[in-house]
C-alpha cells in the first residue's frame, strides 16, 4: 500500500512556459502521487490552464520536463491518454453530433467502451444523449465532456475547472464521483479558482500565482494556518491591551471590553494566556479558508 502511494503519476520538473515575452509558468515543480486527489488553485491567469495543457501534451514547455506515468507528456501523449480522462472548462465538442454519437466516437478512439457504461453514466448525470450537442446548455455540454472523460475508466483524471455550469444536484454527483475515484486509489488533478469547490475533495492543495507555486498544503495544514475569527468579551476593558500582545492576534477591533480579531497562532498558548485575563466570554469561529486563499492570491513574494 505504501509502495503504491509512492508512485508519481504527474511530475513537473523546473517547467517554464512563455508566450512571447509573457512568462505563463515559471520553474514549476510539482509531483502528484498515485491515489492522490490534488486541487490546483489560483486566480484567472495564474497559469493553471497552461500547466494542465502541458500535462495533456497539447503544448510543450520551453524549459524543464513534464512526465505522466513516467513518460514524456507530449511525446507519448496517445499512449498516456489511454489512462487519462480530461475535462476542460468549456470544452469544444463536435457540435453537429448528438451526445451519444460524440461519446461513441470518443469510445472508438479509446479502443471501444461498452454502450451500457455510457448510458449508465448518462443516467447518473441526468444527461440527454439524443440531442445535438449544439442545442445543449453549457452545463449539459460539460456533463457530456465529463462522461467522455470517465467512461473508459482512466487511472488519472485531469480536470480544468470542470464543474462550471453544473447545477447543485449534478455538482453533488460530481463530488461523489471524485470521492469514488479516491476510494479506488485513482489519481485526480483538479483545477479551480474557487476553494470551496474543491477543498472537501482534495488531499492536497496547490496554490499557483503568476506562474509560480506559492503554497502546497494539505487541508488540515491549511486549516491550522488559517486565521481563526475570535470574539472575546472582557470584564475589565484594560485587559484588551494585554490581549493585543498575545502572539498571533491580528486585525484587532475593539469596542470597550468587546474585541473581534483574527488569530493565527497556537490555540494552546491563546487559552493559557487568556485564562489569566478577565474573560467573560470567548467565541472561536472556524478557520476562514477563503480569507487565507485570498491572501495567497494577493501576497507579493
Amino acid at each position: 500500500m505504501l509502495k503504491a502511494m509512492k508512485q508519481p503519476v504527474i511530475q513537473l520538473h523546473d517547467v517554464t512556459k512563455r508566450f512571447g515575452s509573457h512568462i505563463a509558468v515559471h520553474k514549476l515543480n510539482l509531483t502528484i502521487q498515485k491515489g492522490e486527489v490534488v486541487g490546483f488553485l489560483g486566480p484567472n491567469g495564474a497559469g493553471k490552464t497552461t500547466t494542465i495543457r502541458m500535462i495533456m501534451g497539447q503544448i510543450g514547455p520551453h524549459d524543464g520536463n513534464v512526465t505522466i506515468f513516467g513518460q514524456d507528456a507530449a511525446e507519448h501523449a496517445a499512449q498516456i491518454h489511454k489512462k487519462v480522462g480530461y475535462v476542460g472548462g468549456d470544452m469544444a465538442l463536435e457540435d453537429s453530433l448528438t451526445g451519444m454519437q460524440y461519446l461513441q466516437f470518443v469510445a472508438r478512439l479509446h479502443g471501444g467502451v461498452n454502450k451500457r457504461t455510457i448510458t449508465e453514466l448518462a443516467h447518473r448525470f441526468d444527461c440527454d444523449l439524443h440531442k445535438k450537442i449544439r442545442t445543449l446548455s453549457r452545463g449539459n455540454r460539460q456533463k457530456i465532456a465529463l462522461i467522455s472523460a470517465v467512461m473508459h475508466n482512466p487511472d488519472l483524471l485531469v480536470l480544468d475547472e470542470p464543474s462550471s455550469g453544473f447545477d447543485p444536484l449534478i455538482q453533488a454527483e460530481f463530488n461523489k464521483l471524485i470521492l469514488q475515484y479516491k476510494q479506488d486509489g485513482k489519481t485526480v488533478f483538479i483545477s479551480s479558482h474557487i476553494l470551496s469547490e474543491v477543498e472537501h475533495l482534495c488531499d492536497r492543495l496547490v496554490f499557483i500565482r503568476e506562474g509560480k507555486v506559492v503554497k502546497i498544503s494539505s487541508l488540515e495544514e491549511l486549516e491550522r494556518h488559517a486565521l481563526k475569527r475570535l470574539k472575546v468579551v472582557f470584564d475589565d476593558a484594560r485587559d484588551v491591551e494585554h490581549f493585543r500582545a498575545i502572539p498571533g492576534v491580528e486585525h484587532i477591533a475593539s469596542d470597550g471590553a468587546r474585541v473581534v480579531c483574527r488569530f493565527g497562532g497556537s490555540l494552546q498558548e491563546l487559552l493559557r494566556k487568556t485564562a489569566m485575563l478577565s474573560v467573560a466570554d470567548i467565541t472561536i469561529e472556524e478557520a476562514d479558508l477563503e480569507e487565507l486563499f485570498m491572501q495567497y492570491y494577493r501576497r507579493q513574494d
Partner: protein, 263 residues
C-alpha cells in the same frame, strides 16, 4: 479503425452532397451547350479576335471535339475553380478551422496520436474531393446522354482523375498550412493567394513572356498541360502533382508533430 475519417465525413455529409450536386450540375450545364459551339463558327471567330493575353485566360479554341471542349471550356476554368475552392475550404476546415473551434484540442486529449489525426484528416480530405469528382464524372455522362453524344470512357476517367489530382494538391496546400500554423485566417489567406496566384500565372504565361519560366512552378501547369480529356493521363505530370502533395503533407506533419496547439 478510422473513427476520425468516419465522423469527419458524417459531419460533412450535407456539405459534400451540396458540392457534388453543384459540380455535377455545373458540368452538365456547361457540356449540354457543346453542340451549339461545334455548329456555330462565330465563337471561333470571337476567340481569334481576342487579344493574345485574353485568349490565355479564356482558353484555346480547340473545342470542336468533346475532348477538346472538356479540356478548354469545362476543365479550363469552371471545374478547377469549383473543386479547388472546395478543396481549400475542406483543407482549412479539417485543420486550422478545427483548431480554431477548439475541437482539435479536445480530440488530442483522447488516446490518439498527432500522426494519426493528421493521416485520418488527410484521408477525409481525399475522400471528400473524390466524392465531388464522382459528381463531376456523373455530370459529364449525364450531359452527354442529354445531348446524345458519345465519348471515350477512358478519357472521361482521365480528365476526372487529373482534376482530382489537381484538387488534392491544392487542398494539400491549405491542409499543410493549416497543420503547420494552426491559424485559420493566416492559412486560408495564404492558401488562397498561393493557389489562385498559381492559376493566374499559368493562365497568363502563354501570353506573357516574362511568366514563361514561372509556369512550371504552378500546380495548374501539371493539370492543363495534360489535356487529359483529349490525350488521356500523362503519368509524369500526375506524378509531379502527387509528389508535391506528398512533400506538402510531410512538411505539415513534421511541424504539427511538435508544435503547440492554439486553443
Amino acid at each position: 479503425m478510422f473513427a476520425i475519417v468516419r465522423t469527419s465525413l458524417y459531419q460533412r455529409r450535407w456539405s459534400l452532397l451540396a458540392w457534388s450536386i453543384g459540380a455535377l450540375f455545373m458540368v452538365w450545364l456547361t457540356l449540354i451547350f457543346y453542340p451549339s459551339f461545334t455548329k456555330d463558327d462565330s465563337l471561333s471567330q470571337l476567340m481569334n479576335s481576342l487579344p493574345q493575353q485574353l485568349r490565355g485566360l479564356v482558353g484555346t479554341d480547340n473545342f470542336k471535339t468533346v475532348g477538346g471542349y472538356l479540356d478548354t471550356v469545362v476543365f479550363n476554368l469552371r471545374v478547377p475553380m469549383v473543386v479547388v475552392t472546395m478543396a481549400i475550404i475542406f483543407g482549412i476546415n479539417l485543420t486550422s478551422g478545427s483548431e480554431d473551434r477548439g475541437t482539435l484540442s479536445t480530440l488530442l486529449a483522447q488516446s490518439v496520436s498527432r500522426s494519426r489525426v493528421l493521416t485520418e484528416k488527410f484521408i477525409t480530405l481525399i475522400i471528400s474531393i473524390l466524392v465531388v469528382h464522382i459528381g463531376v464524372f456523373v455530370g459529364i455522362w449525364s450531359a452527354l446522354a442529354t445531348i446524345h453524344y458519345s465519348y471515350s470512357l477512358n478519357h472521361s476517367i482521365a480528365i476526372t482523375f487529373t482534376s482530382f489530382m489537381l484538387a488534392v494538391s491544392c487542398g494539400s496546400v491549405a491542409f499543410a498550412l493549416g497543420m503547420l500554423s494552426g491559424k485559420k485566417g493566416l492559412s486560408s489567406g495564404l492558401a488562397t493567394i498561393i493557389v489562385f496566384g498559381c492559376y493566374l500565372i499559368n493562365s497568363l504565361a502563354p501570353s506573357v513572356a516574362s511568366l514563361n519560366g514561372a509556369q512550371k512552378f504552378t500546380l495548374f501547369y501539371y493539370f492543363t498541360e495534360q489535356s487529359a480529356a483529349s490525350n488521356g493521363v500523362d503519368w509524369s505530370y500526375s506524378a509531379v502533382l502527387a509528389i508535391i502533395t506528398a512533400v506538402l503533407i510531410f512538411i505539415g506533419w513534421a511541424m504539427f508533430r511538435h508544435r503547440d496547439i492554439e486553443v
